[in-house]
Symmetry: none
Subunit: 208 residues, 4 copies
DNA sequence: TATGAATGAGTGTTCATTCAT
DNA sequence: TATGAATGAACACTCATTCAT
């Protein structure tokens, strides 16, 4: 009997995240507008109306799903920052690795899709993303560059670049994989190496 | 009387493009799925059913709108290719200028939005875009690099970069403007200059 | 110039019947509800709105078409009555011939279709048909039987049959041809002969 | 609680047939094309969208309704065949009774209406009806005639009649009742007796 | 006379959401 | 907790009809 209660409680606690997981997959495949509660329910193996026990509206599910994704991204970013030891090329490579991992194959690809498609009506999500993730990423890279300059590895001039530019190709890859992958594949690892090389060649110019 | 006829004819001739213009705006705001014929009609100042005098289905409107956009992009690309005279930095700047103009403020931003959000179900549009535009842009830039190498301006090594990488930051700007512009602006011209500088610094660097 | 006027007048006079003819074909194919003004116009080779110069509503076209058909049937019936000379078998054969001709391949097949499908809302048409055609046909056949009895060809008992019964198989054929012809054909002439034989065998039998 | 569940279940189980019944009436009155889901829903006392819980499309409702009708007809026909004992006149009377019952006042009248009016686009229904009902009826009557000949009741010549002819007046009655009943009634029983008499007088000719 | 332009009412169908159990 | 039943609002699309020329 205790077991039953536990099982039920476990069930109860798990439900919301099961629903979010199912919803996440649907949003990834079809976007917000194209996703129906029926398809989420089917994917979660529950009834359509059960969803309403945990979420008030379709928007609420969406926000929960996106918030979860953002949080994972925040965690990943924090982890990278902590490990930031070594010369510019090495650390920058790690940062770029992480970004590709999340944007191209991870949760953030859904965020990208959704923000591009429906970001207009989701300014709070946009602001959250901006402040929790992008700004931290920006300052991390900026600090990285400063360190490189201080260490004599990078030219003073490196400071003049918009740091968003240095990681921006990752967005291109994420979009290419989403949109054009079926028509023409893109070798992500090669592209990523190309990306890192381009940035380092430009910034570490003083090594010459 | 001639005037009347003219007015009417002018109206008739203008209607399709009026509808396309209205539809274009709606697609930009809400994507294909989120756009209703009612909203297109309202924006065009006509009745919902009037649209059916000129287009058979919602898809037909969409295709007409996208086709127009793709054609404009093709024309713009062709123009750039013709004007491709001068050293690498100059010509590459022109190319990047054109891409930003179309992707960030021009028609192509709708394409980006729609392809990212709903490209899955629009493989024909994806293929059209891929073959008519992207591949031409790619070979143009590749030729540009070869010319730079031949002229001794660029190192042989320049060949090793994925050419898509060299223009990829433009996508980032397009997305930033769409998604984050209201939360935090981005100075497009400065970013673009930064972009051009990064690429040229990396590619032309060896000449030093 | 006189010619032009004539031509135009001829045109003007012909239009309504052209429209009716076109409408007739459409009603035959698709019934009243299934016929659109567009299809009538297309079949008549004119514009949809031109129809409104001659008819106020779709119903008006329909009534005109049905009325025309009824009138033709009346004429055909009158002709048969006039030619009613000879013994019962001969005259009855002529009558049945006429009925089959009109019901199975002629105008009346449309009437049948339409009355069955939409007769409810067309009681005036139904009444017209009833009084102008059916009742005359009935009395014609009744007279024919009386003549046969008077001539000793038929038994007195022949009077006891409902005269509608004697021609009723024609309706069956009309319906079969419309509904089942494609699935399984029916030899109209053989069936008609069978029909005539059945009636005559039953009525004239007593003479033996 | 059990009651409640039962009530609910009874409701759920009853709904489809309630809908079919409502639809049946509408199809009878207005045909397939003329019937709207709104009118079916109104007649069934439910919302238009509730219908979609039980049927996928309007066609599905129609098919279910027709299938039910066809099945009832098949059952009725089978019953008649089983009871086929006695002389020709008796058995034939039973067969005709059944046909009139179904065609004139029963379900099959809808089938008649719909097949006449819209059979063109419903070839599968036509084929079903042809193969499941008409062909069986045909062979039943043919067997009946053979038995009558074998028993010396009917002349060999009876074989020469198209068997469809022998029951065809039933169609006439069905149509008369649908179309002309309000303008001029028809005594179905008297007509039916007349019908039976005509056929028997013609076939049992050898009794003379 | 003839027509192209325009539209309001209506069709089948989908879906997020509510309610009773 | 969980769900099946039910529905109102909305959508793409059709069509008879009106209007201006």
């Amino acid at each position: 009997m205790t077991k039953d209660i536990n099982k039920r409680r476990r069930r109860k606690d798990a439900r919301p995240s099961e629903i979010i997981a199912a919803a996440f997959g649907e949003f990834e495949d079809k976007g917000f507008g194209g996703t129906t509660l029926g398809s989420i329910a089917a994917r979660a193996g529950i009834s359509r109306t059960t969803i309403y026990l945990y979420f008030d509206t379709k928007e609420a599910i969406f926000e929960a799903a996106m918030r979860g994704s953002v949080e994972q991204t925040i965690d990943a970013a924090a982890m990278v920052v902590q490990q930031a030891h070594g010369d510019f090329r090495t650390v920058f490579s790690h940062v770029v690795d992480m970004i590709y991992a999340r944007l191209v194959t991870g949760d953030a690809s859904v965020l990208l899709r959704v923000l591009v498609a429906e970001g207009h009506e989701m300014q709070s999500l946009v602001a959250l993303y901006r402040h929790e993730i992008l700004s931290k990423g920006e300052s991390t890279i900026r600090a990285l560059i400063e360190r490189g300059i201080a260490a004599g590895e990078l030219a003073e001039e490196a400071r003049s670049y918009d740091v968003r530019l240095l990681v921006s190709p990752a967005i291109f890859v994420a979009i290419w994989m989403r949109v054009f992958a079926q028509v023409e594949p893109l070798e992500v690892d090669a592209f990523k190496a190309s990306h890192i090389k381009l940035v380092c060649d430009a910034l570490i110019q003083s090594k010459a």
